[in-house]
C-alpha cells in the first residue's frame, strides 16, 4: 500500500504555477528524497501533503485515504522544518509531549513515551531546558523527537540539516537514518543537496521548474539522468554538442558508437570521472589549463583544440597545468539527448 500518493497535484500562487501536474507514489515505510533547487516548490509540496496548503487541483492520499481536504490535525503527517519551530515558551519535555497531550493521552503514558524518546535522541538530561538553551543540533533532535513520539504515518523533513555545521550534519543524517530503520515511518526528505539525497534515501524524486522530472533510485539517477535538464542539474558532467550519423555520435570527443537514428544537433554528456587521460594514446588531444588537488582525487580542466573545456577527475597525479594530454571516453559512458526536447 502506498504511504503517500499524489495524483496530478497542481498549485498556483497568484496565477503563477508553483507546482505543475505532480504525480508521485511513496511506498509505506519508504525513505524518499525530494531533490530540487530552492524555489522549485519542494516546501509547497510538503505543505500540501501535511495539509498546510490546499492544492489548486489534484488529490493527496495517505495510506490509501483521500486526505486532500482533511485539516492538518487529522492527517498524521508532520513536517519538521529547517528552523525546527520549537515552541519557545515550552521546555524540551513540554515540546516533545505536546502532541501526546493534544491527543489526550494519560499523564503516565505521556511521561513514559517522552522519557523513552529523549533517550533515543540522547538528551535525557535536557528535559527541563528551554529551546534557547540548546545548540542547533539539539534543537533539531528535539524537533524530530516531537514529531516521532506520535509515531506518525508520514514524516516530512524540510531541509532539516542545512543550518547545521558539517560534522553535525553528518551525524544527524546517520541519526535520522537510524531512526527511520527503527520506527519505519514513511518519509520524504526535502533537500537541495544531491549528496544528502543519494546518501539517505531509497529513491530520489527530482523536482525542477515546478515539475517532477525523474523518480529513481540514487544509483539509477546517478548513472542515467533521463533528460539533459536533470543531467545538468545533477552536475559533475561534461556536456558537449554533436550529431548522430550512421550509428556514431560525432563530437569534439571523437566518434562514439551509439544506436540512435541520424539526427543533427544532439547533446552528449558524460561524468567527469568517465573521461580518461593518457599522455601517449587517445583520440583527442588537449591541454591542461587548470589542476585542482582535493585529496582523494584531482580535477583537471582541459582545453580542446576548438576552445571547448572538458573536465576530468582522476586519482592520477602525474599531469601538470600546461601539459598536453589525450582524452578518451568509453562509448557506453556517453548519454545522448535530443537538443530540443532535452530527452534521450
Amino acid at each position: 500500500m502506498a504511504g503517500i500518493s499524489l495524483v496530478d497535484v497542481t498549485k498556483h500562487f497568484q496565477g503563477k504555477p508553483t507546482l505543475a501536474h505532480i504525480s508521485l507514489e511513496v511506498s509505506n515505510g519508504e525513505f524518499m528524497a525530494l531533490l530540487g533547487p530552492s524555489g522549485s516548490g519542494k516546501t509547497t509540496l510538503l505543505k500540501i501533503i501535511a495539509g498546510l496548503e490546499l492544492p489548486t487541483t489534484g488529490r493527496v492520499y495517505i495510506n490509501g485515504v483521500d486526505v486532500t481536504f482533511l485539516p492538518a490535525q487529522s492527517r498524521q503527517a508532520i513536517i519538521v522544518f529547517q528552523d525546527h519551530s520549537l515552541f519557545p515558551h515550552m521546555t524540551v519535555s513540554e515540546n516533545v509531549s505536546f502532541g501526546l497531550r493534544a491527543r489526550g493521552e494519560s499523564r503516565q503514558l505521556v511521561t513514559e513515551k517522552v522519557r523513552a524518546m529523549l533517550d533515543i535522541i540522547q538528551l535525557p538530561d535536557r528535559a527541563h531546558s528551554f529551546p534557547h538553551e540548546l545548540s542547533g543540533g539539539e534543537k533539531q533532535r528535539v524537533a524530530l523527537a516531537r514529531a516521532c513520539v506520535l509515531e506518525p504515518s508520514v514524516l516530512l523533513l524540510d531541509e532539516p540539516f542545512s543550518n547545521l555545521d558539517v560534522n553535525l550534519r553528518l551525524s544527524m543524517r546517520e541519526f535520522v537514518s537510524a531512526l527511520h530503520s527503527r520506527l519505519k515511518f514513511t518519509c520524504i526528505l526535502v533537500t537541495h543537496d544531491k549528496e544528502e539525497a543519494f546518501l539517505m534515501s531509497q529513491r530520489v524524486a527530482v523536482l525542477l521548474d515546478n515539475r517532477l522530472l525523474q523518480v529513481a533510485t540514487p544509483e539509477k539517477l546517478y548513472e542515467g539522468p533521463q533528460s539533459l535538464r536533470v543531467a545538468s542539474f545533477l552536475g559533475e558532467r561534461n556536456i558537449f554538442p554533436g550529431r548522430v550519423q550512421g550509428g556514431y555520435f560525432h563530437s569534439m570527443l571523437g566518434a562514439i558508437p551509439c544506436n540512435r537514428p541520424d539526427q543533427e544537433s544532439v547533446v552528449g554528456t558524460c561524468r567527469f570521472d568517465q573521461v580518461s587521460l593518457s599522455s601517449t594514446e587517445g583520440e583527442v588531444p588537449g591541454r591542461i589549463v587548470q589542476k585542482a588537488f582535493a585529496g582523494r582525487f584531482t580535477t583537471y580542466k582541459i582545453e580542446l583544440a576548438q576552445g571547448m573545456i572538458v573536465t576530468a577527475v582522476g586519482s592520477e597525479q602525474q599531469y601538470l597545468a600546461g601539459d598536453t594530454v589525450h582524452l578518451s571516453v568509453e562509448g557506453r559512458a556517453v548519454l545522448i539527448y535530443g537538443a530540443e526536447d532535452g530527452s534521450n
Binding site: F81, D83, A102
Partner: protein
C-alpha cells in the same frame, strides 16, 4: 570614560523630566497657596488633601466609573484587535496594505469630529449616556494603537508555530491558548496597557457620549483645573496617576504570574 559620562547625563536629564512634574504636583497638593515669586510654598499641610480624599463619594464614584470603562474598553479593544491583527499581520491578501492604513483613520481625523458622528448613532441606539456607550467610543480611539502593536507582533511571530501545533494534532482552541496567546502575550500586554491608558485619560469623548451622566475621573478633575483650583486639581491628578499605575501594575503582575506558572516553570 566619555561615553559613560554622556550616558549618565542623559539618564539624569530623563529622570529630571519625569521627576519635576511629579514633585511639583506633590507640592501643589500639600500647599494651600503658592503665590508667584516664592520658590517653595509658604504654607504646607497635608490635612486639606486628606480631607479632599477622605469620605468623598463623588471622587470614589468617578474612580470606579473610570476603572470600569477602562476595563471594558480594554476587553473590547483586545477582542476586536486580536483577529484583525492576525489577519493583517500574518496573511497577505489584496488590499491588506490599504486596510492597514485605513485602521488609523479614527486617530487621523479630529476626535471631536469622530465623536460627533458616533454621538448621533449612540442616541439612535439608546447607548448615549451609558457606560457601554462610552466604552464603545473609547474603543474606537484605542483600537488603532492596539491593532498596530498586535499586528507587528503577529508579523514577527507568524503562523509557523501554529501550523506546527496543528500538524501535531492540536485543534483551534488548544492552539490559541497554548501557542498563539503565550507567544503574542508581550504584545497583548502592551496593547492592553495602551487601551487602558487611552480610555482612562479620555475627556471630550466621555463628556459628549456620557452627556454629563457618566462622570469619570478626568470629568471630575478638569473643572477644577479650569476653575483655577490648582490645589484640588493636583490632589485629583495624583489620584489619577496612582490609580493608573496601580491598575497597570496589577494587570502585568497577574498575566506574568499566570504565564510563568503555566508555561515557563511547570515540569
Amino acid at each position: 570614560m566619555p561615553g559613560g559620562k554622556l550616558m549618565r547625563l542623559v539618564v539624569q536629564c530623563a529622570l529630571l523630566v519625569v521627576a519635576v512634574p511629579i514633585v511639583s504636583l506633590l507640592m501643589q497638593a500639600i500647599s494651600l497657596q503658592w503665590p508667584f515669586p516664592s520658590l517653595l510654598p509658604p504654607v504646607v499641610s497635608i490635612d486639606h488633601a486628606v480631607a479632599l480624599l477622605w469620605n468623598n463619594p463623588r471622587l470614589l464614584g468617578a474612580v470606579t466609573a473610570s476603572l470600569a470603562i477602562a476595563l471594558m474598553t480594554t476587553a473590547f479593544t483586545l477582542l476586536l484587535a486580536f483577529p484583525a491583527a492576525k489577519a493583517l499581520g500574518v496573511y497577505k491578501f489584496p488590499g491588506s496594505e490599504a486596510i492597514k492604513l485605513f485602521t488609523l483613520l479614527p486617530i487621523m481625523v479630529p476626535t471631536a469630529t469622530v465623536t460627533m458622528g458616533l454621538h448621533s448613532a449612540m442616541i439612535r441606539t439608546g447607548l448615549a449616556g451609558t457606560f457601554l456607550g462610552v466604552a464603545i467610543v473609547h474603543t474606537v480611539f484605542a483600537l488603532p494603537y492596539a491593532l498596530r502593536i498586535l499586528m507587528h507582533v503577529f508579523e514577527l511571530v507568524g503562523e509557523r508555530h501554529e501550523q506546527q501545533a496543528a500538524m501535531l494534532g492540536a485543534h483551534g482552541g488548544r492552539v490559541f491558548c497554548t501557542i498563539t496567546l503565550p507567544l503574542v502575550m508581550p504584545g497583548a500586554l502592551s496593547a492592553a496597557t495602551m487601551s487602558f491608558i487611552i480610555s482612562f485619560s479620555q475627556y471630550i469623548t466621555t463628556f459628549m457620549i456620557g452627556g454629563g451622566r457618566i462622570i469619570t475621573l478626568p470629568l471630575y478633575l478638569v473643572p477644577h483645573v479650569q476653575g483655577g483650583e490648582w490645589h484640588v486639581a493636583s490632589v485629583y491628578s495624583l489620584v489619577f496617576v496612582v490609580t493608573t499605575l496601580a491598575a497597570l501594575t496589577l494587570m502585568q503582575y497577574l498575566v506574568r504570574r499566570y504565564y510563568r506558572e503555566t508555561y515557563f516553570l511547570s515540569p
